[in-house]
Symmetry: C2
Subunit: 179 residues, 2 copies
């Protein structure tokens, strides 16, 4: 089944060919985010597409020490940032509806996965980058108050083919009726 | 492009045909979760598969008033619960690595989207249910301390074909280099 190949063959890719991503491909990736579901269709996402070299350098400077995606932040042909409007997902009339408060991380997870799987289907590699100084990165991108930018996503044609990291077996995480 | 059809044709489905989901399909759905990426491969997910009628009733009783998925919790042929181990995703050596603290909602979002898109590819409908009393639901499922259960996901063969809710245009959420 071809669809499961996309799920199973996706890897976190941090090295890319020196080859631009065509505009129509970039547009399809944005469409994939656009079609994501979200809490009561709140669609809290804001997408940054970062091409400017100086902005890329500032984002790179925000990476936490040892982040294996540090080079990719400047070198990837395409760099997306996923920001979320706060107090929207999981909120009704200005109040959090559940004990988890703001669901923006969940909804951005859904949208990010739409993006990464679509990238895989189009022959692109990507990686979710979350380990950085988020306030520094916000400043570099001029993200206003009321929004957060949890994730940066470098994309491009893969120049590496990493082996899949070991996964837990289904038996290790499945529970029938009770935990 | 067939893959984008899956992204675009996925709807939130809350009414299902009276038709069981074969075991091999259920297994493929679990494989899709298993292959999800996660923070440093922490794989914080635990999956509940709820078949027992009494447990289903107790979960239904935990739904917030007006939740449109209330019936689906008991009627769906298949009901998954996605739980997450806390202080794992986003943590290093017992300490949160970023200002966002625990990333379990993000990682469960990635895994949940793997599940829902795979369901769509297999002809199934699904809906993410997050509006309920999470502590009551945890109790019904015997979820231990140190875990949370943010999302329940009813699945089955769709008995409805809802129109897509209106989405923001790409132009409304894209920003080049600066917000």
């Amino acid at each position: 089944m071809e669809f499961m190949d996309i799920i199973k063959e996706r890897r976190s890719i941090r090295k890319f060919e020196d080859r631009q991503v065509p505009g129509d491909v970039e547009n399809t990736l944005l469409e994939a985010i656009r079609w994501s579901q979200s809490w009561a269709n709140t669609q809290c996402w804001e997408v940054l597409v970062v091409k400017d070299k100086e902005v890329r350098s500032r984002l790179q400077a925000s990476m936490s020490k040892g982040n294996p995606a540090t080079k990719a932040i400047v070198e990837a042909p395409l760099l997306f940032g996923l920001a979320g409007r706060l107090q929207s997902s999981g909120y009704y009339k200005g109040r959090a509806a559940t004990k988890f408060g703001d669901w923006f991380l969940f909804d951005l997870g859904l949208a990010a996965q739409n993006l990464c799987l679509t990238a895989q289907a189009l022959g692109l590699g990507s990686v979710m980058v979350g380990l950085f100084d988020h306030d520094k990165a916000k400043e570099a991108l001029g993200i206003p108050e009321g929004y957060e930018l949890p994730v940066l996503i470098p994309l491009g044609y893969p120049a590496q083919a990493p082996k899949p990291p070991k996964r837990r077996e289904i038996e290790e995480f499945i529970h029938y009726d009770r935990f």
